[in-house]
């Protein structure tokens, strides 16, 4: 394959916005995308309400979501022991066959202990339960060290690893657990919306190698202004 130096094509913002305004997006399609997210992520009530408001069929038995929802809620409220108990009720193999997930749940428990100011218990838990696993696996050790760094600061939240105390950290753990449960049911385990966004990122990079165009920033939704 010969490497050619091709002049990059430039698409002006004006031209681009005109194209954007011409795209037809079927609202039903977007609704399906949202329904898929609610069902896969285990938001039973919301899926039910959404089905009522849009007339869309959720595509699965919503009751099967209830179990997953209870587990997700437990994690989101920081009650990791309860979440572990509930997962084992559904299927004990889920955690047995997934040491990485189990480690992340225990890490989350450690974070919760630190959040509660239960430092003594946190240290004991880290030394007895987590450190041995960290010795076996360098990746685990690194994650454990990051959590332990919270303890180095009097005000945990303002430490460089303060983000571990954010709600989004619970969400992340909850999603990982939820995906493992879905996999055990042989259901679609990834919601489609995040994949659509990953594809958008990929496609923009792909196009960037050959053209200059208004790129969209995912966090703000704002289009860049291409410079020639």
């Amino acid at each position: 394959m010969q490497q050619q130096t091709v002049q990059k094509r430039v698409f002006s913002k004006e031209e681009w916005e005109k194209k954007l305004s011409q795209v037809q997006v079927d609202r039903r399609d977007l609704n399906l995308l949202v329904m898929n997210y609610l069902v896969v992520e285990g938001y039973k009530d919301a899926a039910e309400k959404f089905s009522e408001e849009t007339g869309l069929d959720p595509g699965v038995d919503l009751n099967s979501i209830a179990e997953r929802m209870a587990i997700r809620t437990a994690v989101q409220q920081g009650d990791i022991d309860k979440a572990i108990e509930l997962v084992n009720d559904v299927n004990p193999l889920i955690l047995d066959s997934n040491p990485c997930l189990f480690f992340h749940l225990q890490l989350q428990k450690l974070i919760e202990l630190i959040r509660q100011g239960n430092i003594e218990q946190a240290l004991k838990f880290a030394q007895e339960e987590l450190a041995p696993k960290g010795e076996e696996n360098p990746a685990f050790l690194e994650e454990l060290e990051r959590v332990m760094a919270l303890l180095a600061f009097e005000d945990h939240a303002s430490s460089p690893v303060g983000y571990l105390l954010h709600q989004s950290q619970r969400q992340k753990t909850a999603s990982e657990l939820n995906q493992a449960i879905l996999t055990s049911f042989a259901q679609e385990k990834d919601p489609r919306l995040p994949n659509l966004l990953k594809t958008l990122l990929w496609a923009q990079e792909q196009l960037k190698s050959k053209a200059i165009f208004p790129e969209m920033d995912l966090s703000t939704g704002i289009l860049s202004t291409p410079k020639e």
Partner: protein, 428 residues
């Protein structure tokens, strides 16, 4: 990945190419041998698919090649064609491969620069050279040989009787034509450019390649967190007026405050949509007069609302009320607007009056609850316009951007992107 996902995976196959191509390319796919771009020693039959060697067949220079009219489109993901060796003739000196437009037609594919091929007599692979390298089995009468060019990876491999052989060439690019070369009397080959089913399972191969691409894309990290995603879905729900869903979702995802704030801004808009969802058109119209007087001036909107009211009366079995509404307000609107579309819709819903049991009548589709949703959405759009809130939700903005980027990737002929489409995420 799981089996079920694999089964659901859609790949765009158009005859001999895999990939979504702009229509101007789809009408120019290689589909037969070109009767001008072939050596004179070859006889062309069966709708220009079958080639028979008629030359002297004495020296290498007596070789005879044929190319297709159109080259492989460079924006497709995978290209594939097959030949069946009808007869190996005297010596079975048969080559299949690809070559550029200017390569001599008195050569087997692979012997000259800008050509490559797989030869039946020795099973060797040739590229830009008269000396081949050992590659696969030999082939002869009755065998079906395929040539597959994966443009995403720039590799070419061949198939024999449906089985894939290893990769023969890497770094293959440029404008190339499917090519076949014959060299001794009696040799006959018949090509298949997707007009018939291939012996090789091209669809399965394309699915594997697509999965490979998708897993590369999906293994990326998103630069936004889960909470941002949740927020954008909430934004969509609020934006579209799915209030109960928004309230429930925000509660269960612990993002309640944000939604309350948003909902406060447009309580009326959501209340009206919710009234429509419950079939309460009268109260919806009353609230509309208070909150959005300008929208009440829009006759099209009012007409749609009254039509829905008509339908709701019928649903309740109040034919008398429906008839009254039809005769007075609805007729007036249709007459004053002189709009054929409205008149048609009015006569359509009036057909409900003809049945004693409308719910089990052929017109029952008009009573479908989804019609309420249609009306609610129309109102929501009109309200948003009146509020001059951003017309598009974040979710829709992303989707549109992806579509435009896909379109542009197609015009610059990106092979990988041709395997994907927005539909991959939308179909159930």
């Amino acid at each position: 990945m799981e089996r079920h996902f694999y089964d659901d995976l859609q790949v765009p196959v158009h005859g001999c190419v895999v990939g979504n191509l702009p229509s101007e390319f789809l009408s120019k796919l290689p589909s037969a041998w070109c009767n001008k771009d072939k050596c004179e020693y070859l006889e062309l039959t069966k709708k220009n698919l079958c080639l028979k060697y008629q030359g002297p067949g004495k020296r290498n220079e007596d070789a005879a090649a044929a190319r297709t009219l159109f080259p492989v489109p460079s924006g497709c993901a995978i290209f594939y064609f097959e030949i069946k060796v009808v007869s190996a003739g005297r010596d079975g000196f048969i080559g299949i491969g690809l070559s550029a437009a200017n390569v001599s037609l008195n050569r087997l594919p692979g012997w000259e620069c800008n050509s490559l091929g797989y030869h039946g007599d020795d099973g060797n692979a040739f590229r830009d050279s008269g000396t081949g390298t050992p590659y696969g089995p030999t082939f002869t009468t009755g065998d079906v040989i395929g040539c597959c060019w994966n443009l995403m990876k720039g590799v070419v491999f061949f198939t024999k009787n449906g089985l894939a052989l290893p990769i023969a060439f890497r770094g293959v690019g440029g404008t190339l034509y499917p090519t076949v070369g014959l060299q001794t009397p009696g040799e006959i080959v018949e090509a298949n450019f997707g007009g018939q089913e291939f012996v090789f399972d091209l669809v399965m191969y394309a699915k594997q390649e697509k999965l490979d691409l998708l897993s590369r894309i999906y293994s990326r990290q998103l630069p936004i967190g889960e909470d941002k995603l949740v927020n954008d879905i909430l934004d969509y729900l609020v934006h579209q007026g799915y209030t109960s869903t928004a309230v429930s979702f925000s509660r269960d995802s612990n993002q309640g405050e944000w939604v309350n704030e948003q909902l406060q801004k447009s309580v009326s808009r959501h209340r009206i949509c919710s009234l429509i969802h419950h079939g309460n058109i009268d109260d919806a119209m009353k609230e509309m007069e208070q909150a959005y007087p300008s929208v009440c001036q829009n006759k099209k909107v009012v007409f749609q609302l009254l039509c829905q009211k008509f339908v709701e009366w019928i649903r309740k079995g109040r034919v008398d009320k429906a008839v009254e509404l039809g005769k007075t307000q609805l007729m007036e609107l249709v007459t004053s607007e002189d709009d054929a579309e409205s008149a048609n819709y009015l006569s359509e819903i009036s057909s409900l009056l003809a049945y004693e049991d409308p719910i089990n009548s052929p017109a029952s589709y008009l009573l479908d609850l989804s019609k309420r949703e249609v009306v609610a959405q129309m109102l929501n759009d009109a309200f948003l316009q009146a509020e001059s809130a951003p017309r598009l939700s974040q979710l829709e903005t992303w989707t549109r951007q992806l579509q435009v980027v896909f379109d542009k990737l197609a015009t610059i002929q990106d092979p990988e992107a041709s395997l994907l489409s927005l539909q991959d995420f939308l179909i159930r």
